[in-house]
Symmetry: C2
């Protein structure tokens, strides 16, 4: 099959190389000319650890038309805060029979992506799906050299509208048997884990980040009380989901399924997760662990909580803390009730919209 | 003069020894028999660094009647959260001509102490005053051995009611020329600094505290972004004070006056404050830097903000974070609007009450 991989971060590079390894055609797109130039010069992408080998990518381009035109699947592997720009760029070229998959969509991704395509003049929407999380665990050693810590055992995927989920799964399963169909994008949106695992530890390691002190993000950055805060926020997420009629796994259940870990406290499960060992903590706050995960994770979770009358005090306090530390008004730039186009909608109307 | 020093923590021990050095009679009281026994066995209190010498305390006792009866001044140097118990214990013995001074009162200390004395059956209140902060910078090396990092150059003191301030200052100035009269307890209550400098860095060093990693509280615990959070909270305090008609110094102005530091950013002023160097960070969260300073500092600041319609989002977020990390409902146990007896009172009524 033919894939466009949008975004040449560590996730996009890993996916393009892995798809090539599996015998598919991958076109890798990014707006960063410098990075593309380095990749082109290098000639191939090197995978190490759980995936191995060096793979020559069919095409590396900053021309979105070239990337999108031949693709069966358009895999969006950018940070969530770039989704609006990506949708706008591809709007003139995307066709109704193509499939766009967001890796991941975070909370409300597919709904927002569809709205952004329409706003950019796309008359007939493609099939759009969102994943609960990026299927790869990986980090970039240098451009074109990716260290793969793991491939998740199961990842939820849902289409918007949800009637398309079966069709998309059927097509993608031969490539990615790990994807499981979710009932709707409400389920994938409420099944996110990244913001919980990234925002809270990043902010709670402000002292180390300010001091320029390197730390192992999961192993040293998440101490017992920090794990407790993550669990508090996770309970809020699960409660909002239940109220919206979606049963989602809590973080511990999800870690068990995604990484095959034994059930234990969250702290001990994280300490035991070898796929997480060796992840460097952020060096500053202009990092996706805050910028992307607050706007696309905590802000919409809080917004949905507001709509259905479930308070999210721990999530809210970390939105505020992020805003103070980063000097950004996340309640203005994030996926708020207003920014998601949900102003004035009742809980029932939101459920209808997201499960249609 | 005769002093009762209530509380044999590092502050109380330092004060009892220093008063003895100055030629006054000090009776040192505590409820901790074990600690008193150690002090009695040792025979004298050793001061080191900015104050020096070994001093034999006139009387060391766990009998509040013995401590209070002969005193001209009853110096309360316990943690703020013990004020209720201290007031209750001394209520039967305290006389109207005596002077009780809270070192410090935190926010609303004298008002709450007077209410607690009355509630415990004290018919005729003594003179009651509160200080803005403890006049000593000190820490305990071991029981009976105190390392004195400094004596603050100026400390605000106000009586409740404020007409008593002059009388108290006149009597105490020969001993402590550092005390300056404040207009009222509203000014001292709004001039607090401890909660800002203690709560925020303690919570923002949860990672180190959990890991059992020792750190220099001010030098390593307060990094630039953490100093920024302190300044944000400080601005809220100053804004609430202004609305209540009190002009208070911001933290930087206060540090300049109290420690003679050059004006600079808060971060750089703290880094330059030798009196702060070498203070060990808390080893757990059952520590006055959180327990006392949230209940007696942040909670009443937030409550007064509520009454006068000035939002305190950063202070509120740290109350919430403390509550989550400590597993304590500080909005139940702290000096809330309700707990301070201010329910239903208008801003004008609160100003009247606290400036009378």
């Amino acid at each position: 099959m033919k894939f466009a991989v949008i975004g040449a971060g560590s996730g996009g590079q890993c996916m393009a190389a892995h798809l090539t390894q599996l015998g598919h055609e991958a076109v890798l797109y990014d707006i960063d000319q410098q990075k593309l130039h380095t990749l082109q010069k290098r000639g191939e992408i090197l995978l190490e650890n759980k995936l191995t080998g060096a793979y020559r990518i069919a095409c590396i381009t900053s021309d979105i038309q070239v990337a999108v035109t031949r693709a069966d699947f358009v895999m969006v592997v950018t940070t969530t805060d770039a989704h609006g720009a990506v949708a706008e760029a591809m709007a003139p070229y995307i066709r109704p029979e193509q499939i766009v998959v967001l890796h991941p969509g975070h909370c409300g991704g597919a709904v927002c992506f569809a709205a952004a395509l329409q706003k950019s003049g796309c008359q007939e929407l493609p099939h759009i799906a969102e994943c609960q999380t990026l299927i790869y665990g990986c980090r970039q050693i240098e451009i074109g050299h990716i260290f793969v810590t793991g491939i998740k055992k199961t990842v939820l995927l849902a289409a918007y509208p949800s009637k398309d989920t079966e069709l998309i799964l059927k097509k993608i399963s031969p490539v990615y048997p790990q994807f499981r169909g979710a009932a709707s994008v409400l389920e994938t949106s409420m099944s996110i884990s990244g913001c919980l695992m990234h925002v809270i530890p990043t902010l709670m390691n402000t002292n180390r980040i300010d001091a320029g002190e390197p730390f192992d993000f999961y192993m040293e950055g998440i101490t017992p009380h920090i794990a407790g805060l993550i669990e508090d926020a996770d309970q809020e997420r699960v409660a909002v989901a239940e109220k919206l009629g979606v049963h989602v796994k809590n973080l511990r259940e999800w870690l068990k399924d995604a990484y095959g870990l034994q059930p234990d406290t969250l702290y001990h499960m994280l300490q035991a997760n070898e796929a997480y060992r060796g992840s460097a903590g952020p060096k500053d706050f202009n990092h996706r662990f805050v910028m992307e995960e607050v706007t696309g994770g905590f802000v919409p979770l809080s917004a949905l909580g507001q709509i259905c009358g479930i308070p999210t005090p721990v999530i809210d306090l970390f939105i505020q803390l992020a805003a103070r530390i980063c000097g950004k008004d996340f309640l203005w730039i994030g996926r708020t009730v207003e920014n998601m186009g949900l102003t004035g909608k009742s809980m029932e109307e939101v459920i209808d919209l997201m499960t249609k």
